[in-house]
Symmetry: C2
Subunit: 219 residues, 2 copies
DNA sequence: ACCTGAACACCGTTCAAGT
DNA sequence: ACCTGAACACCGTTCAAGT
């Protein structure tokens, strides 16, 4: 406690520059801050200070704060896709795997609520861009759209697989995938918002009820 | 154009005080700003200036900006509940009315995207309060919770009615209502996020597909 | 009671300047 | 190329003071 007397950056040493993958370091610091204290606590000055770097160094790697948030969102979709794929595989690529994906999805959102909110928040949405008249997206936003589509594709592929094994009706797979995604996303949001009551088991109960009803709906 | 030379507040006249229902005026100004320019454009200084009032006058009626946003959200749930009730009634309180509620819900979100986001955003959620350790909510947040529950109740009541007419399975109505809400909310969010493609008809198509699958799932 | 103006402690972003 | 410090134009919020 008494060791450090100044309010100087913690990591900073004699060498003045960061030198290394500052972009990645900034992104990880942002993800950590959001996970621990929420999006509202994320300031460019704060992430810079955490890394022992000036508060404007960030602009060398991201065009602005929105671009940083878009990168955070893209990282979230990458993580989500990985967990969905794993659940689908380990569940045996059938109805059981499909249900496991639903559980994994809700668990991801419940474990990283602030990060999940950024993934679907206004800062990052197409609505936001439409409102401010920007019809050309930055590189981060293009990456975000791609990662979001990737996560969606895992779900769509699973539905096609179910169709091939005659475990799902033969509607348009994309339409079916959007329906399933909407339901799961809705449960996740209600859980994050604290609208499912205070007991933690309420989330599990609804999640399992949901997977049962969804499998019935697409059968 | 050349008439007003100063940057002074537009409505302000000789009488210095607002005198009237300033609280209501502030709330409506906030709703309008959010609807026209998004939440990011909402500043306390801005709403005050719009009403020809000092930027701190607001604190006589709301404890802080979060309380104003909570009131905006509560107002949104009030509007949503009214539209849901009307659709249910006019649709004949049966399966057709139930489908009409789904369509009305998604249309509400698509018509007021920023307002809808505030209703389900982090500023207003229980997660947010838990994160900052506030276990006692303000009056606005209590009102918000009540209005949210009211909108949910319309849906739950409709499901009970369907059950009584043997048009829905006899699971726990609250569980069923949460499932249906989650699905509809999910479609609404995907629509707002612009994740349903660029054509406007894609929203209608998915909404109708959704209502069909949901009715099958709860039958 | 209700409203004001000045002040405080923050923000994101820009830009000329350093290495 | 990459980073810095100072400066700019904003915020929400507090508070003593006015009517």
């Amino acid at each position: 406690m008494a060791r450090r007397l100044s309010a100087a950056p913690a990591r900073k040493r004699a060498d003045r520059y960061h030198h290394g993958d500052l972009r990645r370091a900034l992104l990880q610091a942002a993800v950590r801050t959001i996970g621990q204290h929420g999006v509202a606590a994320l300031t460019l000055r704060g992430v810079g200070s955490t890394l022992g770097v000036s508060r404007t160094a960030l602009y060398r790697h991201f065009t602005d704060k929105a671009a940083l948030l878009a990168a955070v969102a893209a990282e979230g979709f990458r993580m989500l896709r990985a967990e969905l794929s794993e659940s689908w595989e380990r569940g045996g690529r059938g109805r059981r795997g499909f249900a496991a994906m639903g559980v994994a999805y809700v668990r991801f959102a419940a474990s990283h609520p602030s990060h999940y909110r950024v993934m679907f928040g206004a800062d990052v949405s197409a609505e936001h861009h439409a409102m401010f008249g920007a019809d050309i997206f930055g590189a981060e936003h293009a990456d975000l759209a791609q990662e979001g589509a990737g996560a969606f594709q895992v779900l769509a592929d699973a539905i096609v697989a179910l169709q091939e094994h005659r475990q799902a009706r033969r509607d348009d797979p994309r339409q079916m995938a959007m329906f399933v995604w909407a339901t799961t996303h809705g449960v996740a949001m209600l859980a994050i918002d604290g609208r499912l009551g205070q007991e933690a088991s309420a989330i599990d109960t609804l999640t399992h009820y949901m997977t049962g009803r969804v499998l019935a709906a697409i059968a």
